[in-house]
């Protein structure tokens, strides 16, 4: 319990610190909220009020993008610049000499940044929805069962997204110039996580490809579960795969971290 306390303290400190940069948060949020406006405009034109595309009607597709915008920041895998900088400039030394797990510290830091941001984003999104008139398109989960499972799935998505982000950032131990890998992963993750388009609308071959990769389970799967697009046997299979990905990603994180530390040269990798 005492061990956990220090990570909780990091979360609390980060929340306090990040509230100092509210305007930055607001602007960062606009960056991800803007696509929502364009998506609403586009899909309203494409589907009209009563159209259907795959399992989606106008309401469910707009709710899909609403949830993408809301959860993208907390679960979507991307580079952790703190890790990259610590490895490159030797700043990792400070943490290695402390009785603290570095991955645990980074997770606490991420939660401290993202939790207030999530609530702030939800408030702004709802307000934006009311002003822009798309809040009437937002739908609730089809039943309590789907709601609870989607909550569990979102939680798993956050853990999986964190492990993947940590792994990608820790590749800095080996890569001299990681920009190419970063850009390629960015593309691959956008494609297979359903960031731009729900994976269930993809052609069969591409859908199978996305189902193999972990990225679908950090964004698309929990949202499609919430909307009831994923149900029955697919729900159970999907959740099992998601749990397996969380475990596997955590094991890979541990392996990469330990191997990376052996390569680390204290003055920068």
């Amino acid at each position: 319990m005492k061990k956990l306390n220090k990570y909780c303290q990091v979360v609390i400190n980060t929340i306090a610190e990040s509230s100092e940069f509210r305007f930055n948060h607001l602007l960062s949020f606009l960056v991800i909220a803007l696509p929502l406006i364009f998506m609403v405009l586009l899909w309203r034109k494409v589907l009209g009020e009563n159209g259907q595309i795959g399992a989606f009607d106008l309401k469910s597709i707009i709710t899909y993008y609403f949830l993408v915008v809301l959860f993208q920041d907390i679960s979507y895998p991307g580079p952790f610049w703190e890790i990259i900088d610590h490895i490159r400039d030797g700043g990792l030394n400070v943490f290695l000499s402390k009785p603290i797990s570095y991955p645990g510290y980074i997770l606490a830091l991420k939660l401290g940044i993202n939790i207030p941001y999530l609530f702030q984003s939800a408030l702004i999104l709802v307000a934006l929805g009311m002003v822009a008139g798309f809040s009437r398109y937002l739908i609730l989960p089809i039943d309590l069962f789907h709601f609870l499972f989607s909550l569990l799935s979102f939680l798993l998505a956050v853990l999986c997204g964190f492990s993947l982000s940590f792994i990608f950032s820790a590749l800095t131990f080996w890569l001299e110039e990681g920009r190419g890998v970063e850009v390629f992963l960015e593309f691959l993750i956008s494609l297979s996580s359903g960031l731009v388009l729900p994976v269930s609308l993809y052609p069969k071959a591409l859908k199978t490809f996305c189902n193999i990769l972990p990225f679908r389970y950090v964004l698309n799967f929990p949202i499609e579960l919430y909307l009831g697009v994923v149900k029955g046997r697919e729900l159970i299979t999907g959740l099992t795969i998601q749990i397996l990905w969380v475990l596997l990603a955590f094991l890979v994180l541990r392996f990469i971290w330990k191997s990376g530390l052996k390569k680390y040269e204290a003055v920068g990798a």
Partner: protein, 270 residues
């Protein structure tokens, strides 16, 4: 006049120097370079794929059919590639310059400051998507079966240039805000994200959105106007003149704003 020619020559030779330095820098990490080129082309293909999914369920988007949208997406890609190669890499660095106090040295250089901060860095990778975009554009136009005439091609080049200028002007204006909000790291992403939707058909905008994205923040004009020219759509004379006016206005206004904003620069402690 002679002085102007000399000045232009001086800036062209400077830019050539920047370019040759960047080429050396770019190709020093070959595998990373290749991976970025491939990713860039994949993004373009992904944009096409996005619309192809829509068209697999719908015949048109507000009157824009698959080949019309393909034309638009290809033109947008050409604009994005040019912007991301020559201007984007510079605007992206604005905040770092301010945070690190780099303007200290820039300010004493015998060179136009806007030119220097807008052209110093070049990234070659996005340019490799241009041949793919041109081939796709030719394919879309030939499949559509209504080839553009000389007038349409002239209008295309004009409005393409206007689109590029509007994109740069808006980007430069947003990034000049960095002098006021040094710690606002999202400024670059904000302008990039906003302008990335230029490749959506203008027909998706209705009522207030149409007015806003055509006249106030004319994202809709950047790629739609050159696409409409090539597609032989009727372009309203008023809209075309307005886009010319806005391009000139945003260039002048963003420059004035930059010159005003730089007065807030307080070296590395700003």
């Amino acid at each position: 006049m002679k002085q102007l020619v000399l000045k232009v020559k001086y800036y062209v030779s400077l830019w050539k120097e920047f370019l040759s330095m960047q080429i050396k820098r770019e190709i020093s990490f070959r595998s990373s370079f290749l991976l970025e080129v491939v990713s860039y082309i994949f993004w373009f293909v992904f944009n096409i794929f996005f619309f192809s999914v829509i068209f697999s369920h719908r015949k048109s988007i507000g009157g824009w059919g698959p080949y019309e949208v393909l034309t638009l997406v290809s033109i947008n890609q050409l604009i994005v590639a040019l912007y991301d190669s020559f201007l984007g890499p510079n605007l992206r660095r604005f905040q770092t310059y301010i945070e690190r106090g780099d303007f200290d040295t820039f300010l004493i250089k015998p060179i136009d400051l806007q030119f220097f901060v807008s052209t110093r860095f070049v990234e070659l990778k996005p340019l490799f998507s241009m041949p793919v975009a041109i081939i796709t554009l030719i394919f879309a136009l030939s499949m559509r079966g209504i080839p553009p005439g000389a007038f349409e091609i002239l209008m295309f080049f004009l409005s393409f240039l206007i689109g590029l200028v509007i994109r740069y002007g808006l980007g430069f204006l947003v990034m000049s805000l960095s002098f006021y909000f040094v710690r606002i790291s999202a400024l670059h992403s904000l302008q990039r994200e906003l302008l990335s939707f230029a490749g959506y058909p203008i027909s998706i905008y209705e009522k207030f959105a149409k007015v806003f994205f055509t006249f106030i923040l004319p994202v809709a004009l950047i790629a739609n106007l050159p696409a409409q020219a090539l597609l032989k759509y009727r372009i309203s004379c008023g809209i075309f003149l307005y886009s010319c006016f806005f391009a000139v206005f945003i260039l002048i206004f963003s420059r004035k704003f930059f010159n005003q904003a730089i007065r807030r620069y307080e070296s590395a402690s700003s």
